[in-house]
Symmetry: C2
Subunit: 204 residues, 2 copies
């Protein structure tokens, strides 16, 4: 079983992890146009078609216009339902709707709580959420940027290694961005949180 | 005493609340160029000048290149130190660094915890943080967008009135964006949280 790739209606920058054999590709609403532009045929088109006319496409899942979910979060739920546990989200940032970006970042934590993991691709950056674990991030460029954020209840046992500003068993709060804008100095950085969750973003 | 206006190095969209008599204007690093472009002379230029050469300017506060704060958070701290309690932040979003945007959003909560309040201006949107209180948001455009987010510990007693999707005494978690993309239907919306903090963004 491959990964689930979701193309949302925000800005799609690079696609560092393009679809492979066995992957499942979901276009969320106007993300369908991005797929078309990239020459990718999605396996499913999900949307309420309030911002785009419904195209002629074989496999469409219509979402209600009035709902408690965004089309992207519905796409993640559909992918989970089908058994996928690794999600690559393109077009989930940028555009004119920072609130949608924030919603997608929160969905990374939501995915982690379901035992899955998501990667949200922004311009030259990718974000993921970790929970009571260690994440290893390879250095891809000199002075590669790395930012970590507590996004909920205080995160304890935060250790950052291989970076310009290391941390050892620290506590991070969502009310002060202590972990923004670090640099990876060694061949890889290690981000650990023993009690809690962190949002981690790094330069690709 | 007026408000404190901060011009940061991100993208500056409109300036709906330009400087007035009695305000204090701080340019944070490359935000100085935005001030120049807008014909605004800041009262203070604060920066580490790692991304811009230090200009010829009378009132400069040099920040260290290696620090636990961003230049924007240092500007907020300096404004607080001078006694200001209302902060308008321009150029704190956009650009190529979503992590800086997230840091600035977290500083809104930090400010609220200091008894102050900040407004972070994005493209046609503004964001602020509330804590155990009610915020009234006027409708400025038809179907004006309103999004609320729990950004820390679960927020309890969340009530949303005057909107398309009202809430009554709900609980919001930072791990699911239930409050994204609402619409203001009445002349104003009211956002209440009785126990906790919320990030609130709306269309200007």
């Amino acid at each position: 079983m491959g990964d689930c790739l979701i193309f949302a209606a925000g800005t799609t920058y690079d696609v560092p992890r393009p679809p492979r054999e066995g992957d499942y590709v979901i276009a969320a609403d106007a993300g369908f146009q991005t797929c078309r532009r990239l020459g990718i045929t999605p396996d499913l088109l999900l949307g309420d078609f309030d911002s785009m006319a419904e195209p002629d496409f074989a496999n469409i899942l219509r979402s209600p216009v009035e709902k408690d979910d965004t089309d992207t979060s519905l796409a993640l739920k559909e992918g989970l339902r089908l058994g996928y546990t690794a999600f690559h989200i393109y077009g989930g940032t940028g555009g004119e709707r920072l609130d949608h970006t924030l919603a997608n970042l929160q969905m990374l934590t939501w995915l982690r709580r379901q035992g899955a993991r998501g990667w949200l691709y922004d311009r030259r950056f990718v974000y993921t959420a970790i929970q009571n674990e260690t994440l290893t991030v390879p250095k891809t460029v000199e002075w590669g940027l790395l930012s970590i954020f507590c996004t909920g209840i205080d995160a304890h046992g935060v250790t950052l290694e291989g970076v310009q500003y290391p941390l050892r068993n620290a506590c991070l709060s969502a009310a002060f961005p202590l972990g923004v804008s670090n640099h990876i100095l060694e061949t890889e950085a290690r981000v650990t949180v023993t009690h809690g969750e962190l949002l981690v973003g790094w330069q690709l």
